[in-house]
Symmetry: C2
């Protein structure tokens, strides 16, 4: 059985990384990725807190950015409360579990992003996800710590009944593009848009870039579709025939 990668973005305390590893292994999840852990890696505080889940820590992969950590993934969830000012689908852990099982049946790679203990995921991290997964807690006392969020999602994933995954979950559009392919398309678009004055000012560049990313991601493109889009961008960037002629 395939499992999602658990991506801890800028985790602060080694102890919490260890507890997350322990939570994962309880439900047989083994792939931990760390994005820019605050106190570096390896972190000696992690091991005692892992209560024997050392193999998870030893095999944890470290990335400099969230973007690099999700590059090989086709379906990414951001574990957070409903984000303000962002139009992302928000699902429950149970629905997320089902969607990940279905993605794995198609041969896709999935991941769940968890933010730093104090602040949670920032908007740029959430933007890299396809969907938001939110544990429906008491609205007057939402206080899940990192390991608790990890264990609830891992538990739901483990609880999912494989037998209810439809036999044929192949997308008729073909293999879904991974994040790196989408970034490639975005980079290509930016490169062509830049000299054409698309980015109205340095101030607005980030906002516009996020908007473009959301546009690509929400399209849930296949690899073939990304290629097609790149062809379109390339074509659009050509000097039109007849330009400059009288």
């Amino acid at each position: 059985m395939a499992y999602p990668a658990v991506i801890l973005v800028q985790p602060q305390l080694g102890e919490n990384i260890g507890k997350a590893a322990r939570a994962m292994l309880n439900f047989n999840q083994r792939e931990m990725r760390l994005v820019a852990p605050r106190d570096g890696w390896p972190n000696p505080a992690a091991t005692p807190a892992a209560s024997g889940a050392d193999e998870i820590l030893e095999q944890a992969a470290v990335f400099a950015s969230t973007q690099e950590a999700v590059a090989d993934c086709q379906l990414v969830f951001a574990s957070t409360v409903r984000p303000r000012g962002m139009t992302k689908p928000v699902v429950t852990p149970r629905v997320a579990a089902q969607l990940m099982h279905e993605a794995h049946a198609r041969g896709e790679k999935t991941a769940v992003l968890f933010g730093p203990e104090r602040s949670g995921l920032n908007n740029d991290d959430v933007a890299l996800a396809d969907m938001v997964v939110t544990v429906p807690v008491n609205p007057e006392f939402g206080s899940l710590n990192l390991a608790q969020a990890v264990i609830l999602l891992a538990y739901e994933y483990s609880q999912f009944d494989e037998t209810i995954v439809a036999d044929d979950v192949a997308d008729p559009r073909g293999a879904k593009a991974d994040k790196a392919m989408l970034e490639g398309l975005l980079g290509h678009m930016e490169q062509e848009l830049e000299p054409r004055g698309f980015f109205r000012s340095e101030d607005r560049r980030d906002t516009q870039r996020r908007m473009l990313w959301a546009l690509l991601q929400n399209a849930q493109m296949s690899e073939q579709e990304v290629q097609t889009w790149r062809g379109i961008v390339k074509a659009l960037a050509r000097t039109p025939r007849g330009a400059g002629e009288p």
Copy 2:
């Protein structure tokens, strides 16, 4: 909506009691009961770990024995791995959640027992429960701590879809007896059995007593049925008419 009581049996660290309170309040569970907490109660180490769930700690009820803590309950689960040498139904957290919702719809009181951090529930505590609830963890790495077990069960309870509880869940046998009524019947039986040589030796008394308790509990008796049984015991204990006559 009604909620189960969370009963911590002989909890060791105040910190873990606080974490359990925090886990509970995330899913709106508020009734904590403590059985003989090792370091007494209140425990100043509990409050910081509760992260604001102080009301749970302030309202926690303390009992000297598990038996007293479950006395008013009709449906009790023991959270533990499958117990050896004990014939109890073992259910998943999801099934336990459904059974508790159904019990609440009948007006019954429910509870979940959690054992001491190091050792878990002992056989006598498990014997007081109607069923065992076991989180299906990785068989090669079962390492749930107290707060994690509490949060997974609280989460499942919160996830339960009320609409799938049948409209009429009343037991045709009438209101189910609580544990105190069953204890009353057991005490009555023991009192009558004792002088009749039922308990073959002091060594075997505990085993035989447990066997009797299981007998009563597995019958899932209604209040009326307990009364009927008491009448039967009373009648059986009478000197038969004609005894001693020629």
